[in-house]
Symmetry: C2
C-alpha cells in the first residue's frame, strides 16, 4: 500500500506542483485546502480542479475565518498593492502576509495526518520568490518538523517520525514551472491572483500575478491560464 | 498601557485559572475559544461566562470543524470512556485526545497575537493530571515557542520574542484549584465534562469529571458547579 501524505493545495501554481511531486514520489495524497476568508476565494475552485486532475484520495476544504483577526490585505479591507517594482517586492514583509497562516495550515494538516496514519506533509512554500513571508523559510519548516514530533501521539510513543516536505523551497518560479510541466501539471487549472475580478480573472498587477508572469517568461513558456 | 496576551479559554477549570493568572500578571487579555465540533460544545457557554467574569478585552470564538477528520472520542461518533480506574487513566494516550489540537489552537492564537502586537500566549495545559496528551507536555510548549519565533514577522525582523506561558503545567489539579480560588476564579461558571447530558449536566463518570472531582476533594473544598 502506498504511504499516505497530506498535501496543502491552495489552488495556486506552487501547491499544484508540490502535489505532483508528492504523487511522483509514490504517495497516496490527501489534499487540504482552506476557506479562510481570503479575498481570492476563487482559488478554492482552482484547488478542486487541481486535485481532480492530480488524482488525490480525498480533498478536504476546511472553513476557518481568519477575517476575525484581519491583519492582512488578503483577509481585511485593505488594498492589495499593485505594480510594485521588483526591488520593492524583494524587500520586507508585504501587507499580503497573513499572520501565522502556514503555521495554522500545517497544524491542521498534522492533525489530519495523525488520524490517517500519515507521516509526510507536503507544502509548496518557496524561499526564492517567497515575497518575504517568514513562514516560507527553511528554518520555519525545520522548526515545524521538530514541533510535529513532540506534539503528537507518534512523537510520544516513538512509532514514527513526521517529515515536512517543501520540495520547491530552493527553486525559482521558472524552475518550479519547468518541474511541474515535466510532471504533467496543467497550470491552466491554477489561480495565483490575490485580487481577481468578480469573475475570477487575474488582475495582472498584484505581486502574485507579477511573479507568476515573470516565472512563465523565464521558463520560456506561455501561461496556459492566460490563453483566451 | 498593559501588555497584551492571547489566552486560550476552553470553558474548563484549567483555562479559567490560566486567564486569572494572566490577569494577575498585569496583562490585557484577549480570550480565544474554539467551536471545533466538540461533543461538549456547551463548554463554549462556560467560556463566555468565564471571560465575562474574568474581564477580558475581547473574546473570539473561532469555528473550525475538526469532525471532518475525526480520530477522537470528542469529535467522532465514538463513546467517551467512563469510570476508568486511576491506574488506567494514568497510562497511555486516551481516545479523547484530539490529534494536534493544542498545536492548532496555539497556531491560531499566534496569528491573532501578531495582529494585536501581543507577544504572550497563555494556555492552561497541565502535565500532572494531563491524561496523557502529548501536547500538554513541557517539551511541546518549548517546541511551539521556538516555532513561534521563526514563523512570524517579529521573528524575522527581531522586534520581539514570543513567550508561551503554561502556568499550570507543573501543578496538581488541587493546586490549580487553590491558586484559582486565591485569584477569585468562580469555578461555578466552568464546565469540564466530555460527555454532558443535553442540558449541560456533567456525566460524573468521564476522565475529566473524575479528575475534577478528585481535584476538588484533594483541595479540601466543594466544587461550586455541583451545588444545587
Amino acid at each position: 500500500m502506498a504511504p499516505k501524505a497530506v498535501v496543502l493545495v491552495s489552488g495556486g501554481l506552487d501547491s499544484a506542483t508540490a502535489l505532483a511531486v508528492a504523487k511522483s514520489q509514490g504517495f497516496a495524497c490527501y489534499a487540504l485546502s482552506f476557506d479562510y476568508g481570503q479575498r481570492h476565494r476563487c482559488e478554492l475552485e482552482a484547488a478542486r480542479r487541481t486535485c481532480e486532475q492530480g488524482g488525490v484520495e480525498d480533498h478536504a476544504v476546511i472553513a476557518l475565518d481568519l477575517r476575525r483577526f484581519g491583519g492582512s490585505a488578503l483577509t481585511a479591507d485593505v488594498d492589495v498593492p499593485k505594480d510594485r517594482p521588483a526591488d520593492e517586492m524583494e524587500t520586507g514583509i508585504p501587507i499580503t502576509y497573513v499572520p501565522a497562516r502556514n503555521t495554522v495550515f500545517l497544524s491542521i494538516a498534522l492533525g489530519w495526518a495523525e488520524v490517517l496514519g500519515a507521516f509526510d506533509l507536503f507544502v509548496g512554500v518557496n524561499a526564492v520568490d517567497y515575497s518575504g513571508y517568514p513562514d516560507c523559510r527553511p528554518e520555519f519548516i525545520q522548526a515545524f518538523t521538530e514541533l510535529a514530533n513532540v506534539a503528537t501521539k507518534a512523537g510520544v510513543e516513538g512509532t514514527g517520525q513526521f517529515r515536512v516536505h517543501a520540495p520547491l523551497i530552493e527553486l525559482t518560479k521558472a524552475e518550479i514551472i519547468q518541474q511541474g510541466l515535466k510532471l504533467g501539471v496543467d497550470y491552466s487549472l491554477t489561480h495565483s491572483c490575490y485580487d481577481p475580478l468578480p469573475n475570477g480573472t487575474p488582475c495582472g498587477h498584484c505581486d502574485s500575478c507579477q511573479i507568476r508572469a515573470q516565472g512563465f517568461a523565464a521558463a520560456g513558456t506561455v501561461d496556459p491560464a492566460l490563453r483566451p
